[in-house]
């Protein structure tokens, strides 16, 4: 897992609409990267759905929320539409999981990222991180607000 205080590795990935998005686009703002295993998880109260419920409160802290998984951007679009949410989803698809690896979030055993939160400050430095004990568990939104307090 990448350490707080490190420079956040820059990347360029496609979002759910196929548009290229770079981390450096957000310089001057705080960004919360949410690495997650994959779209369409069956768990009730999916991580991104829960965060969507408190997105106004996250935005009020001046933080941009971005989800990243190894799914294709076509899958991201369908996932977004199914859940009716508007959080940007980036596709870490090819080379598979390259960005997750750069942040130390990739799980070789499973072939996807662990559930990991990475808060990046306005200068592009890693401010705070959280890694779930296993991909089956995800942090409640309170963990995010504790980091932003």
């Amino acid at each position: 897992m990448i350490a707080a205080g490190s420079p956040a590795p820059d990347f360029t990935l496609r979002d759910q609409d196929g548009e290229k998005v770079s981390l450096s686009d957000f310089r001057g703002r705080r960004v919360l990267l949410v690495f997650y295993p994959g779209d369409f998880s069956p768990v009730c109260g999916d991580q991104l759905s829960l965060y969507q419920e408190v997105k106004p409160e996250i935005a009020a802290k001046g933080v941009e929320l971005i989800g990243i998984s190894v799914d294709s951007f076509f899958a991201h679009k369908a996932f977004q539409e199914k859940l009716g949410f508007d959080t940007t989803l980036l596709s870490d698809f090819e080379p598979k999981g390259e960005v997750a690896r750069a942040y130390g979030s990739y799980l070789d055993k499973f072939g996807f990222a662990n559930r990991t939160l990475v808060l990046i400050d306005a200068d592009g430095q890693v401010e705070w991180t959280y890694e779930s004990p296993n991909p089956g568990e995800f942090p409640g939104a309170n963990v995010i607000f504790d980091a932003l307090a």
Partner: protein, 158 residues
């Protein structure tokens, strides 16, 4: 904006919906969540009390807000748990006409129900539960607290 930093789960108070007597569980649940429906049936056999707290995740279950509002509105006429039991028992019939059928079956005032379920006070009541769950670390539903401590899913026995 509400403070959403971590805070202990609020103990059961007079504003809670509680069924049964004595020490019991606090359950944060989504009325459109199938796992909650299954757990609700299991928990019904417990001898102790259950406090139901609202945790609707609308983007996961678009019908949730309407169902939680319906339960609260039924609660204002003394039939909160009848509505919850019925919604979990018959998950395929949760559109408005099905809610009205339930209201009539429970002998409630339909006009009042319709008015109440759209009120801002009622929405605030539901949101208050939801936010207390967020602060207590609820990440998925159902989330069960025993003596105000979250019971991990794999350790749950009802």
């Amino acid at each position: 904006m509400s403070d959403l930093t971590s805070a202990p789960v609020p103990p059961i108070g007079p504003g809670d919906h509680v069924r049964g007597e004595g020490e019991g569980l606090i359950v944060y649940a989504d009325l459109a969540c199938p796992r909650c429906a299954a757990a609700w049936v299991e928990m019904a056999g417990r001898p102790n009390s259950i406090a139901f707290r609202h945790f609707p995740v609308a983007s996961k279950h678009p019908r949730s807000p309407a169902l939680h509002a319906a339960a609260e509105a039924a609660g204002l006429q003394g039939r909160f748990f009848e509505m919850v039991d019925s919604l979990y028992a018959d998950r395929g019939r949760v559109d408005d006409p099905h809610l009205w059928e339930r209201v009539e079956r429970f002998g409630l005032d339909l006009e009042r129900f319709q008015r109440d379920r759209r009120s801002a006070d009622l929405a605030a009541r539901v949101r208050r539960d939801f936010l207390s769950g967020v602060r207590a670390g609820v990440a998925g539903t159902p989330a069960v607290f025993d003596a105000c401590t979250l019971v991990p899913v794999r350790e749950r026995e009802f």
